[in-house]
Amino acid sequence: MNLFSIGISHHTAPVDVREHMYVSADELPRVLAQLKERLFSECMLVSTCNRTELYGILQDPSVADREIIAALLTVKGAAETVHPDHFTSHHAGAALHHLFRVSAGVDSMVIGDIQILNQVKEAFQTARDAGSLGPVMNRLMQASLHVGKRVRTETTICEGAVSVSYAAVELASKIFADLSRKTALLIGAGETGELTLKHLVGKGIGKVVVANRTRSRADELVAQLGGEAIDYEQMETGLRTSDIVITSVNSPTYVVQSEHVHQVMRQRGNNPLFIIDIGVPRNVNPAAKKIENVFLYDIDALSAIVDRNLQKRTAAMPAVTRIIREEMVEFFRWHKSLEVAPTIQEFRNTLETIRQDEVQKHINRFTAEDRELVELVTRRIVNKILHQPLITLKQGAENGGGEAETTLRIKVLRELFGMTKHTEHDG
């Protein structure tokens, strides 16, 4: 298999290098077309903020890495800014392994970040639409997406929030059933606080209220996210009507006292109140934790959740490795079936089976001395039919260059004569 991959990623290059290699969706068809013309019989390119990687079947397997890198840099116009040392390459099985690892989200910056699967899917789709996929890469697309799907459903590698702000949102959805009927109040406007609020908006929070010492900052945020800005002094009213409170205030003393919370809880009929205290030093008196139906978390508690989730994800690695191995075996099995020799053998067997069945069925109609003749004649007919297709296949394979064409022929032949069953993929 001439599968080849080359690229830069967060493992090999800092962001200021990676950004030069970023290929936007608009550019992608042009880049693919140029690369395909120069080097590949099939190819695909995935580009995200963490990686730009090219996968393909080389027209000439002996071409050197640096030539491919040079081509990539030229196409991208980044030859001046990006050094070839930032690239890593993989060949054959290793390239397949790498693509499956990427699709499974285990090569991501944060282990199990499955968002990459969508990006891989889009990259394959764009390549397909641009006409740069052939039979092997098409199959590779199915297989990669299948790996991602299996990893997502069969392992816990993408479970649990792995950032403080997501951990807060995850907790919120373990306390409340329907966030669209809840109100979130952000007190102060620290970065993590804002991010948490944004995640909550992303999760469909019903209403957003922002209270900040600098009113203009609150107005700005509300203009961006929707919702309502209130004066900092009205904070207590806000506490009464909100279900989720994020505090992110730079203050040496507690901004919310536990007596406040007590009072607020009475006023709100003891409805659960989830307080996320992201301030350092803390904004909410930790004594409020003891109040019934109050769920108070500070930055350390949230970080502890993140650490535990990361550990859990790492613990799922063996299961992911097993899935990748299984899918590699499956892919190789399929790929092997595309080789010329076994296909010719199988094609022969298929026709021979048909011949024997038919002869068997009607042999009694012939006299004993004619039977030998029937065998001879039918055998010759089958051989004649086989002759031309087999010559074409063999020649295609021996000429080397036309591998993609040979692969396509084999695929079509297998489909037409129903020789695909044992390599069917269930995804």
Partner: protein, 276 residues
Amino acid sequence: MDVMVIVNLLRLLLPLLYAVLVVMYGVTFFQTSPRLERTKHPALIAVIVLHLSYLTARTIAFDHPPITSLFEIMTMLACCMGLAYLYVEFRTHVQNTGLFVLSLALIFQTISSLFIRDLLVIPEYLHSLVLGFHVSTALLGYTALSLAAVYGLLYLMLYHEIKSSRFGMIYSRLPNLETLESMSHRSEVFGFVLLTLAILIGVIWLPVVFKDISYLDPKLIGTIAIWILYALALMAKRKGGWQGRKTMIVSLVGFAFVFLSMIIVNVYLSSFHTFH
């Protein structure tokens, strides 16, 4: 095949089948197993069908529905729990609570299978239609209250995990607090309404059928005490601002009373209600 053979076979088989169900739901609670995940729903339906066949077979074999003794009631309760959970599975998005509900069904069915007696001579009044209504509303009511207690218990376990930041299996597998609370609350209201109906039918209609009925019957008093407890709890939630943890504790306490009164009244006190 003789109907008695079916009755005895199913009597022995049902606790085992519920145990298998509990194991299946247990395994899928603690780990991911796509194969078990697919088979557990059909398995649940199969067990419930067998259980309904068992109840039907008993009714035919002994010429009365299995509602005349504590242990007959218990197998009815187990079946109702299974049915109620099946409803939860099909109609709500609440996942992964089968282990807990079905464990309760397993306990009821095991006790019933061990101690149930084959009663062949039955009093004529057991064929009364009104009594049928009385018993079925009471049964469904108790089932709903048991369900309320199970979801109450799950709520408290999850509440504790969230409050203490110790996130284990409960946290990762159970639905959210609000859902558990509303499941428990809705079951409780449903159970309360049915219990009210059962008491009303009992108090108004049964004296017409039975001449020797007494209003000082221990079971009647016990049930009314339980009814008052639930009435107060529901009132506290509506008017007194009781939310979350407190109401869930009440659902557990209420269930404990239901269970105790069922045992005490039927085993230790004589009452026209126990029939035998």
